[in-house]
């Protein structure tokens, strides 16, 4: 237990957790009771993206090279962190939004994988960029998406029973999880502060 506490504190996760949960819950409640279900959908989705983006900073430690030299097995621990991230944010949003649970769980899984993937590719400082950008673009694109490709790109906004969206979410979730767990956060050459 001590390891977990120290590990989380080294990545500033407790503070991030508070910020992520509070902001996600607040955002998800925006316009959730409005007449237009689309708007509730949009704010829920953005709440998920925000929560995951904030927690994405904790996917990397202050010295990635040092952690790489550790003797412990990183794969299960990193995987557990990504899963915990997804569960926590999904839970918070589920409690405060009227959007169907299937959509929230699917989008949380896909976006968590995307956050982990971005952390591997761009480092922990920029792990928020792809999830936020993709979610934002999807919310704008979805109403005018007719072609299958565009519908696939706006997968977070699709209905719960949409097969393509579920496949993409699964793919991103699993792929991002595995890649991050195997490779860890990107090592920044040159000291990077907070």
């Amino acid at each position: 237990m001590r390891f977990v506490t120290l590990y989380l504190r080294s990545r500033q996760v407790p503070a991030a957790l508070a910020i992520a949960l509070v902001s996600a819950v607040l955002v998800a409640q925006l316009r959730s009771e409005s007449a237009d279900p689309q708007q509730g959908f949009v704010s829920t989705l953005l709440a998920l993206a925000l929560g995951l983006a904030v927690l994405g900073y904790g996917l990397g430690g202050p010295d990635a090279e040092l952690e790489r030299t550790a003797a412990i097995a990183w794969f299960p621990r990193r995987a557990a962190q990504v899963l915990a991230m997804a569960v926590v944010v999904a839970g918070g949003v589920l409690l405060s939004s009227a959007v169907p649970a299937g959509v929230i769980l699917r989008d949380a899984a896909g976006l968590a994988g995307l956050t982990a993937l971005t952390a591997t590719l761009l480092g922990r400082q920029l792990a928020w960029t792809l999830p936020v950008a993709w979610t934002g673009a999807a919310t704008v694109l979805a109403p005018v998406a007719d072609a299958p490709v565009l519908r696939a790109l706006s997968w977070p906004m699709q209905a719960p029973d949409d097969l393509t969206a579920s496949i993409i979410a699964c793919g991103l979730g699993v792929g991002g999880l595995v890649l991050y767990a195997a490779l860890g956060c990107r090592v920044e050459r040159g000291r990077q502060g907070s």
């Binding site: 500033q12 991030a16 910020i19 902001s23 955002v27 925006l30 316009r31 708007q39 949009v42 704010s43 953005l46 993206a49 925000l50 983006a53 904030v54 900073y57 400082q125 928020w128 960029t129 936020v132 950008a133 979610t135 934002g136 673009a137 919310t139 704008v140 694109l141 005018v144 007719d146 072609a147 490709v149 565009l150 790109l153 000291r191 990077q192 502060g193 907070s194």
Partner: protein, 440 residues
Amino acid sequence: MIARILRTELRRSSALAAGGLVVVLGVAGLYSMAMTDQTDIWDTEWTVLAVFQRIMLAVLWPLALGAGAWQARRDRRTRMEELLSTTPRPAWRRVLPTSAAMAICLTIGYVALLAAGAIRVAGNTDYRPAGWIPIALVGALSLIAAGWLGMGIGRLVPSTYTPPVLAVAGFLVLLVPVQVGKDGPISNISLLAPLFSGPSDEFTTVAGAVNAGQAVWFAGLALGGLALLMVARRRWMAVAAVPVVAGLLIAVPLLDSAPEGGFQADLVAASEVCTADSGPVVCVTKVHEDGLSALTGPARRALTLLAKLPDAPTSVHEVTGSRPGPQPAAEVWFHSDNYRLGHGWESSGDELVVRVLAGAGTRPCPDQNGDVDYRTRAIVSAWLYGQYPAPGPKATGEEAAARDAAWQALRALPADEQLRRVTAVRQEGLACASTGSGAR
């Protein structure tokens, strides 16, 4: 020397990445419409492109906010703050190159995006108005405001989480519309966002008051963000509220005086260009000028065919759907939806003649339910042309059977009764008030 520093900042700061992001996402957005062949949502004409690009700011604006916040954290992230505090140059002069670099890169990104769209637009139309320039300029200004505001807020709250929170807040502010405007005393408050409510067509433009009001508002936002960056002590950051509030106070009355949604009819685009030779006058709208030569022949044939009617018309005019009635008896009105920019008239030759003859030379007129009686228009057109079925798109199934029946019924009548019926249809069309769109 400041030029060298500016060059360094342009190359090494994240301003370049922000500008690149604008171009990449924007171009992807524009050309993704090509996948469903919906590019005519933006590529018909210059004003349409400028307006659609503003709609794309829904994604670009919040990301510019996030990029600005990211840029502002550079000193803290790289632990330069201590060294910087020992230098004599005051903070407000120190941030000038970074801010300028961000503004330049975002503007160049927006202009490059415009250029990418312009490639298609230039191929579609030769009509070169100037009204789209203010629309695009205000769009670029709003992007600069987003960048500077993001930088200012990033300096005000230098937490690691500021960039993502700011980006998501930007999306929320733009996508979850404020209901205040709909019911409250101030309408058009949604125009404070850089977006427009929907794409336009070649006959609408943005009201000048809207451009001016938005320009003032975004200039105020930009200056407020810059002020946040420049103040030396944190307690003076309240001064940044001054340009924002001033911009708001000037902008809101201007925006309020504009029509709903900010759009208004583009009178220049709808003005007429007519034939100048000796035959009967044929006019098209200025924006469809390229189609004048193609229309002239069929239009004049249509006029000779319409000569059977009493009070026969003597000229053909292309009009927009929003032109108010009633139609003068001496004119044939041809709806502008029959022309697609970049493609020409929907038909040519005899089919075009038949189109002009539809409804005996009147616009489609919707009744209380919004339905247009295309069947009667087609029958009348065939009668005037002298051949049933007339050249052009054919009806199928039930509609074809109904039209056959109507045609037989008409031909069964005595000749002057037929003429009276057709004239009655024309009279009804002449009395029609302004219509929506519809091209049959």
